[in-house]
């Protein structure tokens, strides 16, 4: 992913006028097919990265899709200006919240993505569906608020077994703020609130988790080398088809 453009303030600002969707490549067969219908590179196969700007029904390209932001835009300023122009043309207003919590399908993937982003992971735990739905609704409003938008990765679980990789889970788990390890394989609870906590108490736990968060500076090559030395390997849900990634993975096992 091209973090150099996507992490620039002007691009982040412009992104607020869009519904931003980030998919984990090779982690869902259906999404893999959608991505393949949007862009394939020279290999003719789904590659590691894709970027596209689409109409609100997902049917029309509003800019040429590509493998990365660098392929589509001159620089971050150009990307931000293009996004603002498209938003103006589509008369897209600033968002007033969203209907769903932006959660990732499972804790294993969410922990990995939190480590990739260098963000804390928030996991919502409730065994019964009604409590979980109620908790998700309270956290959803916080997740899209100006105070917290873009600062966390989210997941939701119904079974304590899903938290096997997490240290320090309290007996009355509801909202957990978790610090992922370098490789996103394990995590440690840094703040929590019960499932029936009021929004103010949930916000307090989120702020506490942000205060406890220590972002790790990572260097690509040394991270990969350290991971291989430690025998850490990520199994994808669907086969990797990017030729470069296939080659890189063949050296890992």
């Amino acid at each position: 992913m091209d973090r150099s453009y996507l992490s620039q303030p002007e691009v982040i600002q412009a992104s607020r006028r869009f519904v931003c969707i980030r998919l984990a490549t090779y982690e869902d067969a259906e999404e893999g097919e959608i991505l393949t219908s949007i862009f394939v590179g020279g290999s003719g196969q789904l590659e590691n990265t894709t970027i596209a700007v689409l109409s609100s029904d997902g049917e029309r390209f509003l800019a040429r899709p590509g493998r990365g932001a660098r392929q589509m835009f001159v620089d971050a300023e150009d990307m931000a200006a293009t996004l603002q122009r498209i938003a103006d043309e589509t008369r897209a207003a600033a968002p007033a919240g969203a209907q769903d919590l932006p959660k990732i399908a499972d804790v294993r993937l969410a922990l990995d993505i939190a480590a990739c982003d260098g963000r804390p992971l928030v996991v919502l735990c409730a065994t019964d569906a009604q409590s979980r739905k109620s908790l998700e609704e309270r956290v959803r409003d916080l997740a899209w608020s100006d105070a917290f938008a873009g600062l966390f990765v989210f997941a939701s679980v119904s079974k304590s077994e899903d938290l096997a990789a997490i240290e320090g889970v309290p007996a009355q788990a509801g909202l957990l703020v978790i610090e992922p390890d370098r490789f996103g394989q394990k995590g440690r609870v840094t703040a929590s609130a019960p499932a029936d906590a009021a929004p103010e108490a949930l916000a307090l736990a989120l702020r506490e988790g942000l205060r406890a968060h220590v972002p790790l500076a990572k260097v690509h090559q040394s991270h990969v080398r350290a991971g291989r030395n430690a025998g850490i390997f990520w199994e994808t849900k669907i086969p990797v088809t990017d030729p470069h990634e296939q080659h890189a993975r063949s050296g890992a096992r």
């Binding site: 869009f18 519904v19 980030r22 970027i51 689409l54 609100s56 769903d100 990732i104 890189a248 993975r249």
Partner: protein, 72 residues
Amino acid sequence: MARSPLPALVLLSALAGTVAFAQEKPAQALAPEPGIAWFATWKSGLAEAARSGRPILLVAAAPHCGGVPGIW
């Protein structure tokens, strides 16, 4: 007079060590940097786009490199 390259090499080596160390240590804990607020599934994002009428910025990336997780 020709100068020995040794002091410069020692300095470079020391700097390289410092940089290598700096790369592995935790970054300074400051206010969190702002970020894009992402939907994490196509279905949920598309539903929100349909509801709000906002266009979609779609990005996909593999959360691993060379088989090693924890890095895009």
